[in-house]
Protein backbone atom coordinates (compact mmCIF):
# COMPACT_ATOMS: atom_id res chain seq x y z
CA UNK A 1 0.00 0.00 0.00
CA UNK A 2 1.16 3.51 -0.85
CA UNK A 3 0.32 6.72 0.93
CA UNK A 4 -3.02 8.52 0.49
CA UNK A 5 -3.20 10.21 -2.92
CA UNK A 6 -1.06 7.68 -4.79
CA UNK A 7 -3.04 4.74 -3.48
CA UNK A 8 -6.31 6.52 -4.28
CA UNK A 9 -5.17 6.94 -7.87
CA UNK A 10 -4.12 3.28 -8.13
CA UNK A 11 -7.51 2.25 -6.75
CA UNK A 12 -9.35 4.46 -9.26
CA UNK A 13 -7.39 3.07 -12.24
CA UNK A 14 -7.91 -0.43 -10.92
CA UNK A 15 -11.67 0.06 -11.23
CA UNK A 16 -11.47 0.80 -14.96
CA UNK A 17 -12.40 -2.00 -17.38
CA UNK A 18 -9.53 -4.26 -18.38
CA UNK A 19 -7.02 -2.83 -15.92
CA UNK A 20 -5.56 -5.17 -13.32
CA UNK A 21 -3.72 -4.16 -10.13
CA UNK A 22 -0.30 -4.17 -11.82
CA UNK A 23 -1.38 -1.99 -14.74
CA UNK A 24 -3.15 0.35 -12.32
CA UNK A 25 0.08 0.80 -10.42
CA UNK A 26 2.09 1.34 -13.62
CA UNK A 27 -0.33 3.99 -14.92
CA UNK A 28 -0.47 5.75 -11.55
CA UNK A 29 3.33 6.05 -11.48
CA UNK A 30 3.31 7.25 -15.06
CA UNK A 31 0.91 10.03 -14.01
CA UNK A 32 3.16 10.85 -11.06
CA UNK A 33 6.25 11.24 -13.24
CA UNK A 34 4.63 12.86 -16.29
CA UNK A 35 4.63 16.59 -17.15
CA UNK A 36 2.17 18.67 -15.20
CA UNK A 37 0.69 20.18 -18.39
CA UNK A 38 0.05 16.77 -19.97
CA UNK A 39 -1.77 15.50 -16.91
CA UNK A 40 -3.84 18.69 -16.59
CA UNK A 41 -4.97 18.12 -20.17
CA UNK A 42 -5.98 14.56 -19.29
CA UNK A 43 -7.89 15.74 -16.22
CA UNK A 44 -9.61 18.46 -18.30
CA UNK A 45 -10.57 15.96 -20.98
CA UNK A 46 -12.18 13.68 -18.41
CA UNK A 47 -14.03 16.60 -16.82
CA UNK A 48 -15.16 17.91 -20.22
CA UNK A 49 -16.53 14.56 -21.33
CA UNK A 50 -18.53 14.26 -18.11
CA UNK A 51 -19.77 17.88 -18.33
CA UNK A 52 -20.55 18.14 -22.01
CA UNK A 53 -21.23 14.76 -23.48
CA UNK A 54 -24.62 13.28 -22.90
CA UNK A 55 -26.66 10.67 -24.65
CA UNK A 56 -28.95 11.62 -27.54
CA UNK A 57 -32.53 11.91 -26.28
CA UNK A 58 -33.82 9.89 -29.25
CA UNK A 59 -31.23 7.23 -30.13
CA UNK A 60 -28.91 7.17 -27.04
CA UNK A 61 -25.79 7.66 -29.14
CA UNK A 62 -23.20 9.91 -27.45
CA UNK A 63 -23.91 13.53 -28.22
CA UNK A 64 -22.91 17.02 -27.12
CA UNK A 65 -26.41 18.30 -27.74
CA UNK A 66 -29.95 17.17 -26.98
CA UNK A 67 -29.98 15.33 -30.33
CA UNK A 68 -26.93 13.68 -31.90
CA UNK A 69 -25.50 14.63 -35.34
CA UNK A 70 -27.20 11.71 -37.03
CA UNK A 71 -30.67 12.35 -35.57
CA UNK A 72 -30.35 16.05 -36.54
CA UNK A 73 -29.22 15.33 -40.13
CA UNK A 74 -32.25 15.72 -42.46
CA UNK A 75 -30.44 13.82 -45.22
CA UNK A 76 -30.48 10.56 -43.24
CA UNK A 77 -33.15 8.07 -44.26
CA UNK A 78 -35.73 8.12 -41.47
CA UNK A 79 -37.46 4.96 -42.65
CA UNK A 80 -34.61 2.61 -41.70
CA UNK A 81 -33.36 2.09 -38.16
CA UNK A 82 -30.22 0.20 -37.22
CA UNK A 83 -30.20 -1.21 -33.66
CA UNK A 84 -26.76 -1.60 -32.08
CA UNK A 85 -25.46 -2.38 -28.59
CA UNK A 86 -23.12 0.56 -28.02
CA UNK A 87 -22.11 3.95 -29.40
CA UNK A 88 -18.85 2.54 -30.69
CA UNK A 89 -20.88 0.21 -32.90
CA UNK A 90 -22.47 3.30 -34.50
CA UNK A 91 -18.95 4.37 -35.43
CA UNK A 92 -18.17 0.91 -36.83
CA UNK A 93 -21.28 0.95 -39.04
CA UNK A 94 -20.66 4.56 -40.13
CA UNK A 95 -17.17 3.56 -41.35
CA UNK A 96 -18.69 1.07 -43.79
CA UNK A 97 -20.62 3.90 -45.58
CA UNK A 98 -23.24 1.21 -46.38
CA UNK A 99 -25.94 2.64 -44.21
CA UNK A 100 -27.78 5.97 -44.54
CA UNK A 101 -30.55 5.47 -41.98
CA UNK A 102 -30.70 6.26 -38.28
CA UNK A 103 -29.68 4.35 -35.17
CA UNK A 104 -30.91 3.12 -31.83
CA UNK A 105 -28.30 2.32 -29.18
CA UNK A 106 -29.53 -0.30 -26.68
CA UNK A 107 -26.79 0.26 -24.11
CA UNK A 108 -25.63 -3.39 -24.09
CA UNK A 109 -27.08 -6.85 -24.64
CA UNK A 110 -29.40 -9.05 -22.60
CA UNK A 111 -27.18 -10.91 -20.14
CA UNK A 112 -29.11 -12.08 -17.05
CA UNK A 113 -26.07 -13.55 -15.28
CA UNK A 114 -24.61 -10.02 -15.31
CA UNK A 115 -27.93 -8.64 -14.03
CA UNK A 116 -28.98 -7.20 -17.42
CA UNK A 117 -32.48 -7.93 -18.65
CA UNK A 118 -34.61 -6.10 -21.25
CA UNK A 119 -35.61 -3.44 -18.68
CA UNK A 120 -31.99 -2.41 -18.21
CA UNK A 121 -31.64 -1.60 -21.94
CA UNK A 122 -33.29 1.11 -24.08
CA UNK A 123 -35.86 -1.31 -25.46
CA UNK A 124 -38.99 0.51 -24.27
CA UNK A 125 -37.70 3.65 -26.00
CA UNK A 126 -37.16 1.62 -29.18
CA UNK A 127 -40.79 0.49 -29.08
CA UNK A 128 -41.91 4.11 -28.62
CA UNK A 129 -39.97 5.13 -31.73
CA UNK A 130 -41.80 2.50 -33.77
CA UNK A 131 -45.27 3.66 -32.80
CA UNK A 132 -45.86 5.95 -35.77
CA UNK A 133 -45.50 4.63 -39.32
CA UNK A 134 -42.24 6.42 -40.20
CA UNK A 135 -39.92 3.46 -39.71
CA UNK A 136 -40.34 0.69 -42.27
CA UNK A 137 -37.33 -1.48 -41.51
CA UNK A 138 -35.39 -2.30 -38.35
CA UNK A 139 -31.93 -3.79 -38.89
CA UNK A 140 -30.69 -5.65 -35.82
CA UNK A 141 -26.91 -5.23 -35.65
CA UNK A 142 -26.13 -6.58 -32.19
CA UNK A 143 -22.75 -8.25 -31.68
CA UNK A 144 -22.29 -11.59 -33.46
CA UNK A 145 -21.88 -13.40 -30.13
CA UNK A 146 -24.27 -15.36 -27.94
CA UNK A 147 -25.65 -12.41 -25.96
CA UNK A 148 -26.07 -10.42 -29.19
CA UNK A 149 -27.90 -13.33 -30.85
CA UNK A 150 -30.22 -13.78 -27.87
CA UNK A 151 -30.95 -10.04 -27.82
CA UNK A 152 -31.78 -10.27 -31.52
CA UNK A 153 -34.07 -13.24 -30.84
CA UNK A 154 -35.87 -11.24 -28.17
CA UNK A 155 -36.24 -8.10 -30.32
CA UNK A 156 -37.41 -10.00 -33.39
CA UNK A 157 -40.09 -11.78 -31.37
CA UNK A 158 -41.25 -8.53 -29.77
CA UNK A 159 -41.33 -6.50 -33.01
CA UNK A 160 -42.89 -9.23 -35.15
CA UNK A 161 -46.43 -8.10 -34.43
CA UNK A 162 -45.78 -4.51 -35.54
CA UNK A 163 -45.76 -5.39 -39.23
CA UNK A 164 -42.37 -3.76 -39.79
CA UNK A 165 -39.62 -5.45 -41.80
CA UNK A 166 -37.10 -6.86 -39.27
CA UNK A 167 -33.70 -7.90 -40.56
CA UNK A 168 -30.49 -9.26 -39.04
CA UNK A 169 -26.99 -8.76 -40.43
CA UNK A 170 -25.91 -11.63 -42.66
CA UNK A 171 -23.53 -14.25 -41.40
CA UNK A 172 -19.89 -13.88 -42.32
CA UNK A 173 -19.25 -11.78 -39.25
CA UNK A 174 -16.84 -13.41 -36.80
CA UNK A 175 -18.91 -15.44 -34.32
CA UNK A 176 -17.92 -14.73 -30.73
CA UNK A 177 -16.38 -11.40 -31.67
CA UNK A 178 -17.24 -7.75 -31.17
CA UNK A 179 -18.96 -5.85 -33.97
CA UNK A 180 -16.43 -3.04 -33.67
CA UNK A 181 -13.58 -5.37 -34.72
CA UNK A 182 -15.23 -6.39 -37.97
CA UNK A 183 -13.47 -4.69 -40.88
CA UNK A 184 -15.43 -2.26 -43.06
CA UNK A 185 -15.69 -4.59 -46.04
CA UNK A 186 -17.03 -7.54 -44.03
CA UNK A 187 -19.46 -5.37 -42.09
CA UNK A 188 -20.57 -3.61 -45.29
CA UNK A 189 -21.25 -6.97 -46.91
CA UNK A 190 -23.18 -8.13 -43.84
CA UNK A 191 -25.44 -5.08 -44.31
CA UNK A 192 -25.98 -5.72 -48.02
CA UNK A 193 -26.83 -9.36 -47.37
CA UNK A 194 -29.10 -8.85 -44.36
CA UNK A 195 -31.91 -11.35 -44.03
CA UNK A 196 -35.26 -11.45 -42.30
CA UNK A 197 -34.97 -11.99 -38.56
CA UNK A 198 -38.45 -13.47 -38.29
CA UNK A 199 -38.15 -17.22 -38.71
Amino acid sequence: MYEGAVQDLIDEFGRLPGIGPKSAQRIAFHVLEADRADMDRLADAIRAVKDKVKFCAVCFNVSEQELCNICRDPKRDETVLCVVEESKDVMAVERTRSFRGRYHVLGGSINPIAGIGPEQLHIRELLNRLHDDTIEEVIIATDPNLEGEATSTYLARMLKSLGIKITRLASGLPVGGDLEYADEVTLGRAFEGRRSAIG
Binding site: P17, I113, P174, G176
Partner: protein, 249 residues
Protein backbone atom coordinates in the same frame (compact mmCIF):
# COMPACT_ATOMS: atom_id res chain seq x y z
CA UNK B 1 9.31 -11.17 -12.18
CA UNK B 2 10.22 -14.39 -10.40
CA UNK B 3 8.78 -16.30 -13.30
CA UNK B 4 11.17 -19.21 -12.92
CA UNK B 5 9.68 -20.22 -9.57
CA UNK B 6 6.35 -20.99 -11.21
CA UNK B 7 6.12 -24.01 -13.47
CA UNK B 8 3.14 -23.84 -15.79
CA UNK B 9 1.43 -27.15 -16.43
CA UNK B 10 -0.79 -28.05 -19.32
CA UNK B 11 -3.95 -30.13 -19.04
CA UNK B 12 -6.91 -31.17 -21.12
CA UNK B 13 -10.50 -31.37 -19.89
CA UNK B 14 -14.11 -31.31 -20.99
CA UNK B 15 -15.75 -28.11 -19.76
CA UNK B 16 -18.99 -26.14 -19.81
CA UNK B 17 -18.64 -22.38 -20.30
CA UNK B 18 -20.61 -20.79 -17.43
CA UNK B 19 -19.99 -17.17 -18.31
CA UNK B 20 -17.57 -14.84 -20.04
CA UNK B 21 -16.31 -11.33 -19.21
CA UNK B 22 -14.56 -8.90 -21.51
CA UNK B 23 -10.94 -8.33 -20.53
CA UNK B 24 -8.84 -5.50 -21.92
CA UNK B 25 -8.90 -4.80 -25.67
CA UNK B 26 -9.77 -8.17 -27.14
CA UNK B 27 -9.50 -10.90 -24.50
CA UNK B 28 -12.09 -12.62 -22.41
CA UNK B 29 -12.11 -14.28 -19.04
CA UNK B 30 -14.10 -17.50 -19.25
CA UNK B 31 -15.49 -19.26 -16.20
CA UNK B 32 -15.54 -23.01 -16.87
CA UNK B 33 -17.10 -25.90 -15.00
CA UNK B 34 -15.07 -29.08 -15.35
CA UNK B 35 -15.77 -32.52 -13.89
CA UNK B 36 -12.38 -33.12 -12.30
CA UNK B 37 -10.77 -29.67 -11.95
CA UNK B 38 -13.87 -27.98 -10.53
CA UNK B 39 -14.53 -24.38 -11.45
CA UNK B 40 -11.74 -22.87 -13.55
CA UNK B 41 -11.25 -19.20 -14.43
CA UNK B 42 -9.14 -18.80 -17.54
CA UNK B 43 -8.06 -16.14 -20.02
CA UNK B 44 -8.87 -16.63 -23.69
CA UNK B 45 -6.59 -14.31 -25.59
CA UNK B 46 -7.66 -12.28 -28.63
CA UNK B 47 -11.05 -14.01 -28.91
CA UNK B 48 -13.00 -10.82 -29.61
CA UNK B 49 -11.01 -10.15 -32.78
CA UNK B 50 -12.20 -11.19 -36.21
CA UNK B 51 -9.26 -13.51 -36.79
CA UNK B 52 -9.94 -15.63 -33.69
CA UNK B 53 -11.42 -19.09 -34.15
CA UNK B 54 -11.51 -19.70 -30.41
CA UNK B 55 -14.13 -16.97 -29.92
CA UNK B 56 -17.07 -18.94 -31.28
CA UNK B 57 -16.01 -22.02 -29.30
CA UNK B 58 -15.79 -20.29 -25.93
CA UNK B 59 -19.26 -18.75 -25.93
CA UNK B 60 -21.48 -19.21 -22.87
CA UNK B 61 -23.19 -22.60 -22.42
CA UNK B 62 -20.94 -24.39 -24.93
CA UNK B 63 -19.67 -27.84 -24.03
CA UNK B 64 -16.04 -27.94 -25.11
CA UNK B 65 -12.84 -29.93 -24.95
CA UNK B 66 -10.31 -27.43 -23.65
CA UNK B 67 -6.56 -27.42 -23.45
CA UNK B 68 -5.43 -25.16 -20.59
CA UNK B 69 -2.20 -24.15 -18.99
CA UNK B 70 -2.06 -23.28 -15.32
CA UNK B 71 -1.24 -19.79 -14.12
CA UNK B 72 -0.87 -18.14 -10.73
CA UNK B 73 -4.41 -16.84 -10.52
CA UNK B 74 -5.96 -17.32 -13.95
CA UNK B 75 -5.35 -20.26 -16.25
CA UNK B 76 -4.97 -19.76 -20.01
CA UNK B 77 -7.04 -21.50 -22.68
CA UNK B 78 -4.63 -22.58 -25.39
CA UNK B 79 -7.04 -24.63 -27.52
CA UNK B 80 -10.69 -25.61 -27.51
CA UNK B 81 -13.05 -27.66 -29.65
CA UNK B 82 -16.82 -27.73 -29.45
CA UNK B 83 -18.37 -30.98 -28.24
CA UNK B 84 -21.94 -29.71 -28.22
CA UNK B 85 -22.99 -26.22 -29.42
CA UNK B 86 -25.67 -25.76 -26.75
CA UNK B 87 -25.09 -22.00 -26.72
CA UNK B 88 -26.28 -21.46 -30.28
CA UNK B 89 -29.49 -23.39 -29.71
CA UNK B 90 -30.22 -21.65 -26.42
CA UNK B 91 -29.71 -18.17 -27.92
CA UNK B 92 -32.39 -18.95 -30.50
CA UNK B 93 -35.07 -19.43 -27.83
CA UNK B 94 -35.40 -16.61 -25.33
CA UNK B 95 -37.03 -18.62 -22.53
CA UNK B 96 -34.33 -21.28 -22.75
CA UNK B 97 -31.65 -18.58 -22.87
CA UNK B 98 -32.82 -16.95 -19.63
CA UNK B 99 -33.26 -20.37 -17.94
CA UNK B 100 -29.69 -21.30 -18.94
CA UNK B 101 -28.39 -18.11 -17.30
CA UNK B 102 -30.05 -18.98 -13.99
CA UNK B 103 -28.64 -22.52 -14.19
CA UNK B 104 -25.12 -21.34 -14.99
CA UNK B 105 -25.16 -18.75 -12.20
CA UNK B 106 -26.39 -21.36 -9.70
CA UNK B 107 -23.77 -23.89 -10.81
CA UNK B 108 -21.09 -21.21 -10.52
CA UNK B 109 -22.15 -20.38 -6.98
CA UNK B 110 -22.42 -24.01 -5.88
CA UNK B 111 -18.93 -24.82 -7.18
CA UNK B 112 -17.13 -21.79 -5.75
CA UNK B 113 -15.60 -23.98 -3.05
CA UNK B 114 -14.09 -27.41 -3.49
CA UNK B 115 -17.10 -29.60 -3.88
CA UNK B 116 -18.18 -32.57 -5.91
CA UNK B 117 -17.97 -30.67 -9.17
CA UNK B 118 -18.39 -33.85 -11.21
CA UNK B 119 -21.97 -34.26 -10.01
CA UNK B 120 -22.79 -30.58 -10.67
CA UNK B 121 -21.18 -30.87 -14.09
CA UNK B 122 -23.32 -33.90 -14.99
CA UNK B 123 -26.49 -32.15 -13.81
CA UNK B 124 -25.77 -28.98 -15.77
CA UNK B 125 -24.79 -30.94 -18.88
CA UNK B 126 -28.06 -32.86 -18.68
CA UNK B 127 -30.08 -29.68 -18.15
CA UNK B 128 -28.48 -27.82 -21.10
CA UNK B 129 -28.98 -30.86 -23.32
CA UNK B 130 -32.66 -30.99 -22.28
CA UNK B 131 -33.10 -27.25 -22.98
CA UNK B 132 -31.45 -27.64 -26.37
CA UNK B 133 -33.73 -30.55 -27.30
CA UNK B 134 -36.66 -28.25 -26.59
CA UNK B 135 -39.06 -31.04 -25.64
CA UNK B 136 -40.01 -29.70 -22.19
CA UNK B 137 -41.07 -26.35 -20.82
CA UNK B 138 -37.77 -24.54 -20.06
CA UNK B 139 -39.18 -23.44 -16.67
CA UNK B 140 -39.70 -27.06 -15.62
CA UNK B 141 -36.17 -28.00 -16.68
CA UNK B 142 -34.86 -25.01 -14.74
CA UNK B 143 -36.78 -25.79 -11.54
CA UNK B 144 -35.82 -29.45 -11.67
CA UNK B 145 -32.17 -28.46 -12.16
CA UNK B 146 -32.27 -25.99 -9.27
CA UNK B 147 -33.80 -28.50 -6.84
CA UNK B 148 -31.36 -31.22 -7.81
CA UNK B 149 -28.27 -29.01 -7.80
CA UNK B 150 -29.10 -27.75 -4.30
CA UNK B 151 -29.70 -31.39 -3.28
CA UNK B 152 -26.35 -32.38 -4.79
CA UNK B 153 -24.69 -29.63 -2.75
CA UNK B 154 -25.93 -31.39 0.39
CA UNK B 155 -29.31 -29.81 1.11
CA UNK B 156 -31.71 -32.47 -0.13
CA UNK B 157 -35.34 -31.37 0.14
CA UNK B 158 -38.29 -33.72 0.50
CA UNK B 159 -41.74 -33.30 -0.99
CA UNK B 160 -43.07 -36.69 0.10
CA UNK B 161 -42.09 -37.63 3.69
CA UNK B 162 -42.08 -35.00 6.48
CA UNK B 163 -38.63 -33.38 6.59
CA UNK B 164 -38.64 -33.38 10.40
CA UNK B 165 -40.02 -36.75 11.51
CA UNK B 166 -40.12 -38.69 8.24
CA UNK B 167 -43.85 -39.47 8.49
CA UNK B 168 -44.91 -40.59 5.01
CA UNK B 169 -46.94 -38.09 2.97
CA UNK B 170 -48.72 -36.61 1.28
CA UNK B 171 -48.49 -33.54 3.52
CA UNK B 172 -50.10 -30.16 2.90
CA UNK B 173 -47.57 -27.72 4.41
CA UNK B 174 -44.17 -26.67 3.05
CA UNK B 175 -41.44 -25.11 5.16
CA UNK B 176 -38.75 -23.52 2.96
CA UNK B 177 -35.93 -23.27 5.57
CA UNK B 178 -36.53 -26.88 6.66
CA UNK B 179 -36.44 -28.00 3.03
CA UNK B 180 -39.83 -29.39 2.10
CA UNK B 181 -43.10 -30.76 3.42
CA UNK B 182 -43.91 -31.00 7.11
CA UNK B 183 -46.64 -33.08 8.78
CA UNK B 184 -49.41 -31.48 10.86
CA UNK B 185 -47.60 -32.34 14.13
CA UNK B 186 -44.23 -30.89 13.06
CA UNK B 187 -45.52 -27.86 11.19
CA UNK B 188 -43.72 -24.71 12.46
CA UNK B 189 -45.24 -21.22 12.26
CA UNK B 190 -44.52 -19.52 8.93
CA UNK B 191 -44.98 -22.69 6.87
CA UNK B 192 -46.70 -22.33 3.49
CA UNK B 193 -49.86 -24.08 2.39
CA UNK B 194 -49.50 -24.48 -1.37
CA UNK B 195 -51.96 -26.36 -3.56
CA UNK B 196 -51.51 -30.17 -3.41
CA UNK B 197 -50.80 -30.10 -7.19
CA UNK B 198 -47.82 -27.77 -6.56
CA UNK B 199 -46.34 -30.13 -3.96
CA UNK B 200 -46.87 -33.05 -6.31
CA UNK B 201 -45.07 -31.12 -9.08
CA UNK B 202 -42.14 -30.32 -6.76
CA UNK B 203 -41.80 -34.02 -5.95
CA UNK B 204 -41.90 -34.87 -9.67
CA UNK B 205 -39.22 -32.24 -10.45
CA UNK B 206 -36.97 -33.48 -7.65
CA UNK B 207 -37.27 -37.13 -8.66
CA UNK B 208 -37.14 -36.45 -12.40
CA UNK B 209 -40.60 -37.79 -13.15
CA UNK B 210 -41.11 -35.90 -16.41
CA UNK B 211 -44.44 -37.43 -17.37
CA UNK B 212 -45.94 -36.26 -14.07
CA UNK B 213 -44.23 -32.83 -14.26
CA UNK B 214 -45.40 -32.22 -17.85
CA UNK B 215 -49.03 -32.86 -16.90
CA UNK B 216 -49.03 -29.99 -14.37
CA UNK B 217 -51.09 -26.82 -14.80
CA UNK B 218 -49.71 -23.29 -15.10
CA UNK B 219 -50.81 -22.28 -11.58
CA UNK B 220 -48.93 -25.19 -10.00
CA UNK B 221 -45.83 -24.37 -12.08
CA UNK B 222 -45.88 -20.78 -10.84
CA UNK B 223 -46.33 -21.77 -7.21
CA UNK B 224 -43.67 -24.49 -7.40
CA UNK B 225 -41.23 -22.06 -9.08
CA UNK B 226 -41.63 -19.61 -6.18
CA UNK B 227 -40.91 -22.33 -3.63
CA UNK B 228 -37.86 -23.54 -5.58
CA UNK B 229 -36.51 -20.01 -5.83
CA UNK B 230 -37.10 -19.45 -2.10
CA UNK B 231 -35.27 -22.67 -1.26
CA UNK B 232 -32.35 -21.80 -3.52
CA UNK B 233 -31.95 -18.27 -2.13
CA UNK B 234 -32.22 -19.58 1.43
CA UNK B 235 -29.17 -21.81 0.92
CA UNK B 236 -27.13 -19.52 -1.32
CA UNK B 237 -27.67 -16.52 0.97
CA UNK B 238 -26.92 -14.05 -1.83
CA UNK B 239 -29.45 -13.37 -4.58
CA UNK B 240 -29.17 -15.28 -7.86
CA UNK B 241 -29.36 -12.26 -10.19
CA UNK B 242 -30.48 -14.15 -13.28
CA UNK B 243 -33.61 -15.55 -11.64
CA UNK B 244 -35.60 -12.33 -11.88
CA UNK B 245 -34.91 -12.16 -15.63
CA UNK B 246 -36.10 -15.71 -16.31
CA UNK B 247 -39.04 -15.60 -18.68
CA UNK B 248 -41.72 -18.04 -17.69
CA UNK B 249 -44.82 -19.05 -19.65
Amino acid sequence: MPRSSFASKSYRTPAIVLRTHKLGEADRIVVLLTPSHGQVRAVAKGVRRTSSRLGATLEPFMLVDAQLSTGRSLHVVTQAQIRAPYGQRLAADYRSYTAAHAMAETAERLTEDDVDAAAQYRLLHGAFAALARGEQDPSLILDSFLLRSVATAGWTPSFSGCVRCGAPGPHVAVNVPLGGVVCAACRPAGSLSPAPESIDLLDALLTGDWARAASSEAAARREAANIVSGYLQWHLERVVKSLKHVERA
